[in-house]
Subunit: 216 residues, 2 copies
């Protein structure tokens, strides 16, 4: 039984990290955050993942998105381990904070438990500026995440947010590809919102709901 899921507010816990201690809502304030857990320091998949996060850091930075890691080791362990991470992934700098949760008090509250390991899973929540979970990946310890998919999903959320959720992104969408207009938007409103125009697909139902437009 998890603590939180899509749409829930992340609890405002006070956390100890490799950089400084803070309350989660202070960290989340005014930006989007990628909050991710990993099973343990000095373990192989985690080392590749945190290295990748460090290497992709500029991608998150130029989108104004913060990173925040977490595992059930203490701060000193995290700091020692960072040397391994940076050595294994050349070009990676771990500048983002990593939360220490040595007593496993935080992971049950954040839906970040691997049932087989009884430790942290590879959970990754994208948290909005309102401190609510917008999207989650819940992977077990055996499966390293895909940073390109994290970025793609983030780009979709940012694009939808920029357009007040009046658009959505189709399957396998990538930035610069067309988006669809949300069903809640009437054709009249769509003409005002999207002066560049939109194309309505001709489908057997003739319901006119598949409206594609270019917002890039």
């Amino acid at each position: 039984m998890p603590g939180i899921t899509l749409g829930d507010t992340v609890p405002n816990l006070e956390v100890e990290t490799t950089l400084k201690n803070f309350k989660l809502h202070d960290y989340f304030a005014d930006s989007w955050t990628v909050l991710f857990s990993h099973p343990g320091d000095f373990t192989p998949v985690c080392t590749t993942e945190l290295g990748a996060m460090g290497k992709y850091a500029h991608e998150f930075e130029h989108r104004g998105v913060k990173l925040l890691g977490l595992s059930c080791d203490d701060v000193q362990s995290h700091k020692d381990w960072i040397k391994d991470i940076e050595a294994f992934t050349p070009g990676s700098k771990v500048k983002y904070p990593i939360i220490a949760d040595p007593n496993k008090e935080i992971i049950p509250q954040l839906n970040m438990i691997d049932p087989i390991e009884n430790g942290p899973s590879r959970a990754l929540h994208i948290v909005g500026p309102d401190c609510k979970i917008k999207l989650s990946f819940l992977y077990p310890s055996t499966t390293g995440r895909n940073m390109d998919e994290v970025l793609r999903a983030l780009d979709s959320l940012l694009m939808a947010s920029k357009h007040n959720n009046k658009i959505a992104t189709p399957v396998n969408w990538k930035p610069d590809e067309p988006v669809v207009i949300s069903p809640s938007v009437s054709d009249t409103e769509a003409k005002k919102l999207f002066p560049q125009g939109f194309k309505t697909a001709d489908l057997p139902s003739k319901k006119g709901y598949m409206r594609l437009t270019d917002v890039s």
Copy 2:
């Protein structure tokens, strides 16, 4: 507050679908299943997603994996909508069953709720033959999923399962790339399990946990 998460058993609900009615555990038995919800019939992102699922069907089939869709419309609506799906995505055939949940009784039990829409989210659970959730994507209605990532994650789970979770897959892993040996496996055991050998990365900590091997 979600119904279920990683490691939980999917409840053995009796469901009505576009093909026939069954109990979930009977459907899950003896194989892996991709169980996914979509916000609504005759809506744009869902049409692209279910079309993609149909187009990728052979990929799931040759892995011995079943597909099972769900939304809060009735069976007749699903059947009418399938004509649109197949028209929009040429080459796609929707042969997998889609659950009808017109009274929204199932989605709260399966952690498939979009908090903004108060209807189904784009949740996708990969369910093991033991009827437990192995991995989940929880996306909101604005963000279409990525079928390549679903397949990649599935390949990782199947590979780990084949090797009794003695291996795991690194960040951004793809089939045919090296895997890592799990920390629970000693070097002595690893030499027996992986006669092809493995390479241990030389990292500053000298802890010897980063062991890569080729199992493809």
